[in-house]
Amino acid sequence: MTSNKKSVSESVKNLEKPVDLTPENLKEIHNLMVQGRVLEERLVKMSKMGEGYFWIGGPGEEAFNVALGLLVDKGHGPDKDFIHLHYRNSALMLALGAPPIDAIRQMKNVETDPYSGGRNFVNHYAKPEWNVVPVSSCIEPQHSQAIGTAHAQSQGRGKGISVVIGGDAGTAEGDFATALVWASRPVNPLPLLVICTNNYAGISTPYSGQHGETEIADRGRAFNVESRKTDGNDVWNVYEALQTAINYVRKERKPYLLELDVSRLHGHSSASGANRVTNEADCVESFEKELEKIKILSPKEMDKIREDWQESILNDLKQVRTEPGPDPHSIFDHVYADKNGDKGRDTLAAQIGLDYAADTAAHFAAKKLKAKKG
């Protein structure tokens, strides 16, 4: 067994991969990538079947997401890494240890959605235990916020860094420049890793017509920010690129800009149909080919892994179908921080005008009855 492992590891090295990943690493990465892909495929299906209103996510970004999820220093507070996500990072959350059922809960906007209680779109995470700050649909302000967590980290003795992720089109927003300007100030450089996932599109607008710069990574060079553009689809390549960048930021306490080429395998979102595209690189497919070639996993084993996740995630959905929606009167909760168990309720807002929530339960019950009869 041991000798077998060694020979596999050697064969990996022999392929001159940029980073040495053990068979265990590779199997773990593969498992997470497949889990992520299956989850996203389920979420897409849910949107098509009316089991959720809107889908946006990251099929095609699993190699990058899983590698990053495994490489960050996960935990709570400024000594650990802060993570400011885009809306295509489901596989990163899985790599951190999030159960797929929670994404399904958010997709179905049920009360048990631990990230937003049925308030936000799918893939809009928030998890303070892991410093995953709330994701917003608004493009790019996470870059303006990430300088704040990085600033808090620059004040302490800890080694925590902030990581912020955004798309290529979003770099046109001022917030992208804000991150570079504030993180590179000579009086107080910030431990901030800025990652641009470049899928060469913003919804329907092609990259080619909108960017005068040769590459997005060039923007960093103007601020003397260490910058690099590379492929985000190849597991070994993206793992090495992220490891190098993270180590640099952690050690030097300075910013780094990493531009990664990635794919968008189901288009922009459910609004554009979310159908599978075939003309873009598929990181799961190419990784599986490679794993077969270097004899880490056989096609049969990989099929089994996929089928197991499909079954398990379908069971998750069946469970979520039994879970209730949010309480209509909860709309005023958590407007503010909880104070002595008051759930942060905005009691003033609740006093103003008509009480719509009073009718909501009856309205939904009638709707359900009508649907049943129909």
């Binding site: 400024p78 802060f82 308030r119 998890k127 870059h143 303006s144 916020q145 704040g148 921080a337």
Partner: protein
């Protein structure tokens, strides 16, 4: 007596020592200037930010996400408009995350007219700010409240917008902050930055030990009890209302019921309701533009809930609904409510037959 600017500065110094305030920042907030209105002179944690308001609000939000307390400044509220979505995000982080990410930050910004500030130094922000939910918004009208409300803002685990009426920043208080030296000259010597570069190089402020008056956000201040009519004002309009109140009392034997709202949101409805139920007459006075003015909301609520207590129609005094405040004093006085407008309208409210 401390000025409003000095009071805020002392509150910030007090919070650095007692409330874990770690960062006070914004454009020209740190040395050498210490703020466009001297509010941040001599502080330990103040620093100059890039000229980037979105970055300032984003930085504050990120600090809040990391659980750190800060006071960020936008140099004039006229320049805060490009941060609206960032303010919205700071205001909804707690709500969208079901309470998992409270946002314990304070943003301060000078507001309003009265210094010949023309188009870009005269805007108000109170009526816009109340539309950004999840925030609390306060606006003091005097030095004592400025001190107490700033401490309340910093202590609050929620985002608080602290609006500084810029025409009042140099106004001296009438009520001593607990622990404040009685002699204004002495205070000036202790905490105002000297004028010459040589003096500045050696200068260290000596902030007096003050006691937190524990002003509650959400509680209005009753300036005077009376039965003639309810007057609700805030910020720069409050001292104007106070002068009129005193004049009416001494010259006309009219006793107004005067409420300094202090907190714009969540506002003290109990204070307004109990007063209007008694007087049956009410006027709301502020200087933001009058269409969709916050005072209009208060009138709507008055009509919804207190309609049958009213003897006469409720009134609003606010700024004219034009794109800006013109530089010429002729234009400014025709745009922004002046003491004589307020006086005339209060008198008409009091004298209208029921």
């Amino acid at each position: 007596m401390a000025t409003v600017a000095q009071a805020i500065r002392m509150a910030l110094a007090h919070a650095e020592d007692n409330l874990e305030l770690k960062d006070v920042f914004g454009e020209d907030v740190g040395p050498p200037l210490g703020g466009a209105f001297t509010v941040t002179q001599g502080l330990k944690t103040s620093w100059n930010s890039p000229l980037d308001e979105r970055g300032i609000i984003g930085m504050a939000t990120g600090l809040g996400l990391a659980g750190s307390r800060c006071v960020a400044e936008v140099q004039f509220c006229d320049y805060i408009f490009n941060t609206i979505d960032l303010l919205k995000l700071a205001g909804n982080a707690c709500w969208t995350s079901m309470g998992q990410y409270p946002m314990p930050i304070t943003v301060m910004t000078p507001v309003g007219s009265g210094i010949h500030g023309s188009v870009y130094h005269s805007h108000s922000f109170d009526s816009k700010m109340v539309q950004i939910q999840g925030w609390k918004t306060v606006m003091p009208s005097n030095a004592y409240d400025a001190f107490g409300l700033m401490l309340a803002a910093i202590k609050d685990p929620n985002p608080v917008m602290f609006l500084k009426p810029k025409a009042l920043l140099r106004a001296k208080g009438k009520k001593l902050i607990p622990g404040e030296p009685k002699n204004a000259k002495e205070l000036k010597k202790m905490i105002d930055m000297p004028v010459t570069k040589e003096e500045q190089a050696k200068w260290r402020p000596k902030f007096p030990k003050l006691t937190d008056p524990e002003i509650e956000i959400g509680k209005a201040y009753k300036y005077q009890e009376g039965d003639a009519a309810t007057v609700v004002a805030w910020g720069r309009m409050q001292p104007i209302v106070e002068d009129i109140t005193n004049k009416f009392k001494s010259e006309r034997d009219i006793y107004l019921d005067v409420i300094d709202l202090r907190t714009i949101y969540p506002y003290d409805w109990d204070a307004i309701r109990s007063s209007v139920e008694r007087t049956g007459r009410v006027i709301f006075v502020n200087e933001d533009t009058e269409v969709c003015n916050f005072g209009e909301h208060l009138i709507r609520r008055t009509c919804d809930e207190l309609f049958y207590s009213l003897n006469v129609r409720p009134r609003l005094i606010a700024g004219k609904n034009v794109p800006g405040v013109g530089l010429s004093p002729i234009l400014e006085e025709s745009t922004q409510p002046q003491p004589w407008h307020v006086e005339k309208e209060i008198l008409s409210l009091v004298e209208e037959p029921a």
